[in-house]
């Protein structure tokens, strides 16, 4: 069996009295692509944000690359780590957001090289070389000096992917990466993600793109009301769902 990249065990999360995650357990092996689907408000994005500790959790444990994410266990209690320790853990986890969140005051290339220079501490020349190579990888080498506002949504999202890759992450998280895009721009972003999957990147993708899930995912998880309802091979979950909630969800989106 391949090495486990993500091992989430009984993850629970509440906002006040609202139970968002009711004990989610799943594993992702190195090089695997996991797609998370589910209705809005099901907790799928929240779960993703727990994986790099953008959200704290109220119970359970998340191991990323064999490290307990965001906490240190003493007896039966998890103590939250200091911000600088969490920041260190996040360096090996890339994240791509629904609304891109590119830094608008920086060019595409500056967006990509900011963290490698300022956080990882590599030299500006080296970072620039790698940054240009990454922009080429997402098909935007000629847009290096453009500001985000001068790029289309699809191009911005591809820069955002390059920016996340620049920190050489072991795991990539995608939070509905194509939901904010015009339909004709979705394909370019999905192509970049497919190439990334082929190159062996471990990926967790929250998505509504069932075609992408069917084609690229090694495993699909259907989450509803903070619980995993069904999981397995994409063909099995998407084409032959066993649970009635999965069936009714897929009927609505397909």
């Amino acid at each position: 069996m391949a090495k486990l990249m993500v091992d989430a065990r009984n993850v629970r999360k509440t906002y006040g009295s609202n139970q968002v995650l009711n004990g989610i357990s799943l594993t992702v092996e190195q090089g695997e692509v996991l797609c998370i689907i589910g209705p809005s408000g099901s907790g799928k994005s929240t779960f993703l944000r727990c994986l790099n500790h953008l959200e704290s959790i109220n119970g359970g444990r998340i191991y990323v690359n064999d490290e307990l994410m965001g906490y240190r266990q003493v007896g039966k209690v998890l103590h939250e780590l200091k911000p600088q320790d969490i920041a260190k853990q996040r360096q090996s986890i890339g994240m791509v957001f629904q609304r891109f969140n590119l830094f608008p005051h920086m060019t595409a290339l500056q967006n990509v090289i900011e963290a490698p220079i300022g956080v990882a501490g590599i030299s500006p020349e080296e970072a620039k070389q790698q940054g240009l190579a990454l922009l080429a990888q997402v098909g935007l080498q000629d847009k290096a000096d453009h500001y985000p506002a001068q790029l289309s949504g699809g191009q911005q999202q591809r820069v955002a992917i390059a920016r996340a890759l620049a920190m050489k992450p072991k795991l990539m998280l995608f939070d509905e990466p194509t939901s904010a895009l015009d339909p004709e721009l979705v394909g370019d972003v999905l192509d970049v993600m497919k190439n990334l999957a082929k190159a062996g990147m471990t990926m967790i993708v929250v998505t509504h793109e069932m075609g992408f899930a069917r084609e690229v995912a090694d495993k699909v998880v259907f989450i509803d009301k903070g619980l995993i309802v069904e999981q397995g091979d994409p063909k099995q979950v998407l084409d032959n769902p066993q649970e009635s909630r999965t069936k009714s969800f897929l009927n609505k989106v397909l």
Partner: protein, 294 residues
């Protein structure tokens, strides 16, 4: 009516704009004429003192005090804004208390207070309490001359106002920016310095330009503690030669010139921090942060 399709369209005409503009210009011109032709104003005295060395020296003091106060105030204001937005309740209270106190009392009162500090504390001693270690001691009036008292008063008061401007600027930055920075492993201070503040600058600079101009004019209040700035210089001269109005025109001319010149660096700064945003130094209102179409 001509029903042929060969017609031209013209925009709405605004005749009243021209008429009201003409009336306003005429009123303005007649006022300027009245001032210039008034027999009671001795124009030769205005010209004589315009480049008087005491006036020019006062102007240098005004510029010096303005620049140093704004520098101190901006640094303090950023610190206060970050404290006020902090998770730490003690820091929030301290910052809020500071801002409330210095905004809540008149600036003139604060200036006089700092100027009279020597009456409250005749001796100042800087050292480690309950030991014999003393770094600095002496008469308050020696350690804090009027100009230093004035700078302290203006800078602290300005910091309280600017803190709210900086805080508004920080709050105007989309939270997604902070999340993206976090996800790349950036620390919170790094995120503030490289991601949030540069974007907040775009919102901060126009009101800070206002504050700068306000500060330049407020330095004239330091006359009450006898700091030799521009207004003090002009009023010292006029109390000797009794040409009050003429010297008000002299100092007014220089204040107006200085505040006008200040507009240029402001526009340059706005262009610098407007980079990457849709309205670069333009006339349009700052546009909301651009994200992709939904």
């Amino acid at each position: 009516m001509d029903l042929s399709d060969d017609v031209v369209a013209v925009p709405l005409r605004h005749p009243w704009r021209w008429i009201s503009g003409g009336i306003a210009t005429a009123l303005l011109l007649s006022f300027i004429w009245a001032v210039f032709s008034a027999k009671s104003i001795q124009h030769d005295i205005v010209l004589k003192f315009l480049l008087d060395p005491r006036i020019l020296a006062g102007m240098l003091v005004t510029i010096f005090v303005t620049v140093i106060c704004m520098f101190i105030a901006t640094v303090l204001a950023t610190l206060l804004a970050v404290m006020k937005l902090s998770d730490n309740p003690l820091q929030r209270w301290l910052a809020t208390g500071f801002i409330e106190f210095f905004r809540g009392t008149p600036l003139l009162l604060q200036i006089v207070f700092w100027g009279y500090l020597g009456i409250i504390f005749p001796q100042l001693i800087l050292g480690v309490p309950y030991t014999d270690i003393v770094f600095l001691s002496g008469k308050t009036s020696d350690l804090i001359p009027a100009i230093v008292a004035g700078i302290i008063a203006l800078a602290l008061n300005e910091a309280a106002y600017s803190a709210e401007i900086v805080r508004a600027g920080i709050l105007a930055v989309d939270n997604g920016q902070v999340e993206a920075a976090k996800s790349l492993g950036m620390s919170s201070t790094y995120t503030m310095r490289r991601i949030v503040l540069p974007q907040a600058m775009r919102v901060i600079i126009p009101p800070m330009g206002n504050e700068f101009i306000g500060m330049l004019k407020n330095t004239s209040l330091l006359q009450v503690i006898a700091v030799a700035e521009l207004y003090t210089a002009s009023s010292t001269i006029s109390s000797a030669n009794l040409a009050q109005i003429e010297l008000l025109i002299v100092s007014g001319f220089w204040y107006l010139l200085m505040t006008t010149v200040l507009g240029f660096p402001q526009r340059a700064l706005e262009r610098k921090y407007g980079k990457g945003f849709a309205s670069v130094g333009g006339r349009s209102a700052p546009r909301a942060f651009k994200v992709g179409k939904r």
